[in-house]
Subunit: 243 residues, 2 copies
Amino acid sequence: MSRYKLTLEYDGTNFAGWQIQPNQRTVQGVLTTRLGWLLAEEPSITGAGRTDAGVHALGQVVHFDAPAITDRAEFLQRLNAALPDDVCGLGLQEAPGDFHARYSAIRKIYHYHLTLGPSAFAKGRSWRLPGPIDWGDVETATAKLVGNNDYAGFCLAGSQKEDNHCQVEIAHWRRAEREAVFEITANRFLHRMVRLVVGTLVDIGRGRWRPAQIDEILESGDVRLAGQAAPPEGLYLVRVEYP
Amino acid sequence: MSRYKLTLEYDGTNFAGWQIQPNQRTVQGVLTTRLGWLLAEEPSITGAGRTDAGVHALGQVVHFDAPAITDRAEFLQRLNAALPDDVCGLGLQEAPGDFHARYSAIRKIYHYHLTLGPSAFAKGRSWRLPGPIDWGDVETATAKLVGNNDYAGFCLAGSQKEDNHCQVEIAHWRRAEREAVFEITANRFLHRMVRLVVGTLVDIGRGRWRPAQIDEILESGDVRLAGQAAPPEGLYLVRVEYP
């Protein structure tokens, strides 16, 4: 058996998230079945991040073990022919036997897309936000997110762990007239962290809170001080990096 | 009554094209009904271009007559609230009484999106093209399209007119690793012209014909020498320009 690293793209709209669940269409479930068609048996697949229902990926990474695949390009082509339209493999590499899609990752990059004003193409792909945003306040608040902080206050209640520290290297907004994209890079992310961060930043931009709300949430670790999680359809797992 | 110029964006996926037809969901039909909700009665709407089923618009322009609209920004907001998710108004201006969305236009810009290789997001938005393309040949052929030519050979059989000349100002490809976008600007377009041009260019890129096939199609005016029309989902009416 060899270990393989597979990079995936998927449109999360019609998936009940990444993780396999009975009687639900999930990315892990579909991928397991279709890989099973090509291999001798269904492999056990581990993903770098368990994206929620509706969340997209431009560069999810998974690992699985399989008998040696001699022509990886041809295998990837056959896999893509077997996969439905909304998920595809972008790259397949052989990896060291101790490579782990989740635990070997040193960095992940997520983007969150906001659509400002009307759009005919945003549905399922972006959070369509009516009304004005104070970008000065949003940017002041965003700058407070960078650094090594305890992010328990931006984690789905009940899923906090012993250590909720994340090293956020980059958090910034790329803005155009009709779209704004939040880009965040960290060594790890907690459950629903990006959506809670974006929901809170949007509340700040709408004037519900001052930017100092971010400090209070980080210091207290109390998710009840954060905003609602932003909807899943704006979130993209863009890249997972390894040493 | 005043004349109004409205700029529209729509995702053509779930429309049976622009033009109103009984028992079909069309952009003109939906827009007529929803404008009728806001105005005293349903206006007669004229579009700059009659896009086919599945074809998108980023900047379709229409005109209609209505009693004076005092607050156009507020009217546009109410119109967008009344319109479904896949069509929206981007701008509303008062126009001279003789303004005509179609006949006053001096220039239109279309884009055609090709996806090269696998993609989870291309469905309904781009033509997903498997296999390699000889871009050198495609670019040689594309250059032959620029100029004032008789385009009868790139017009749906039976819809040719007395004069099939088009002044093509720009025809070029913008390419990235996984996507190629064909951009074409002309004073007018014939029925199905862009899709027939793209279908033929792709055939040339796949080695079915040499670039000189373009000369033969233009000289003969015989659409049977052209390739199949490229599928509608890759085509976008990007902009309509007026004096």
